[in-house]
Amino acid sequence: MKHLEEKIFKVIMICAAMIILGVLMYIIGTVFYRGLPALTLDMVTKLPGGGFYLGKEGGVLNAIVGSLYIILGSLTISILISVPLVMYINFYLPARSIFSSIIRFSLDILFGIPSIVYGAFGFALMIYLGIRASLIGGILTVAMLIMPIMMRSFDEITRLLSRDLPDALLSLGTTKYEMVKVILRQLMPGLVTAILLAIGRGIGDAATVLFTAGYTDNIPTSLNQPAATLPLSIFFQLGSPVEEVQNRAYASAIILTVIILILSFSARYFSSKFSKNKI
């Protein structure tokens, strides 16, 4: 009897896992099936002709470049903030300090805040500061979104580092600041993993840039101009009544999915490299 139950549940569990795998395949398959016919070289090399909403010609170069600008800007900000902070809670504060657990806890909560709330807060902040929907607004808001993601994954990897190296360095007479500089080199693959994860989240999120970065047919040339983004190009073009424009949305969906696939696999590659380094 108990062996029958064992077998039945094993089958159910394998089915559940297979269904989850199947759904992933189904999602990627749907995106490619619908978008592939519309994916041309023009998509990635041309701006939309005659407006992104009604124009039948052109591609989404404006959104690709816009997304790239926003992610590069916000990445710079969030690296500048998260790397020192992670070093601080791991190597400056004592092992079980209350301050470091408060910081970690608030990072956990920041991590869980929905992107739409960041978007609304970012927009309110921009009104307060007198900034219109622009590249800089998008960069600041996306930076808030990806900062906790980067910090948490970098922190997790840093905690795995053995204490031998820091202790050895300190006993050689380095200051903590010099010690951290050496350790950072050791942690590089981990940092790259964290960065790739953050890029993946930041580049795909639409709700943060919806009000803060705006949308435009052109490539922004200064920080005060609005910028188009890939997820919004999918969302807006899908709402267009013109079929060619809708097809462009599906093709953009492929571009975004491929970017995410590449990021995800390279993150995995770097994190496996890190665990090899460690042993």
Binding site: P84, I113, Y177
Partner: protein
Amino acid sequence: MRRLRAAKDKAARYLMLGIGIFTILLLLVIGLSLFFKALPIMREKNLWVLLSSADWKPFKGDFGFLPFILSTFYVSLIAIIIALPFSILTSIYLNSYASKNVRRFFEPVIDLLSGIPPVIYGVWGTLTIVPLIANKIAPRFVEFSSGYTILAGGVVLAVMIIPLLISIMVEVFRSIPKEMTDASLSMGATKWQTVKKVILRKSISGIIAATVLALSRAFGETMAVLMVCGNTAKIPHSIFDAGYPLPALIANNYGEMLSMPSYESALMLSAFLLFIIVVLFNGLSRFTLNQIERRYQF
């Protein structure tokens, strides 16, 4: 030379301390500024009236949040009901049954599912789930449904929270000491009996924490539900009615309502509500999960 090194060290230390304080303050600043932005509408109307009224006529000054709150709640509930069994079964499988190779194969699968952007889930939902509901499922229960429904939102959200649930639950199951499961197995219990009587029982608090965390993720999800839920400001009476969750309300209207201060304030109130609920849920479940991690660490 030595003084320079010490000074550098000190400067770095203060800079880092400043950043640390900044991250803690950021949370407070977000909460407070949303609160103050929402204050005008709460002064104008009774908060309870706002939350319990179903009239949403912004241009007449009626702001009843009930349809949005109920939509959010229903959509998230459906998502959890669908996602939970799949996630529990799969995480048990990955933790106790699967070989190392299978586990290694599934890690990128979970990664990818959690990495796919919401807007792609939305595209997938409109292409597959919405027509499926409109043509196959809904006609069996109701006369007509466009497919853009609460149910569609729930299904898409379910897929989106599954990776979060699985990754936390696998951690929770892994934190159970091997001695316990070994003891059970050596008494002649089958693997499934061990799972049922030892692992699941021991990790019940972790499963609840994971569920709460996934719920709060579902509450705040915007683009995907915006694309598949239909967005009509009425109280949904069945899962085949259109819904209008809170995040979708903000996304659809914010940015255009600057001319109406009370409208803006009302939308800020919904952002503040989301913020409070998510912070509470997240705080509770993260606290529980941290406790679990600590309990079995040493």
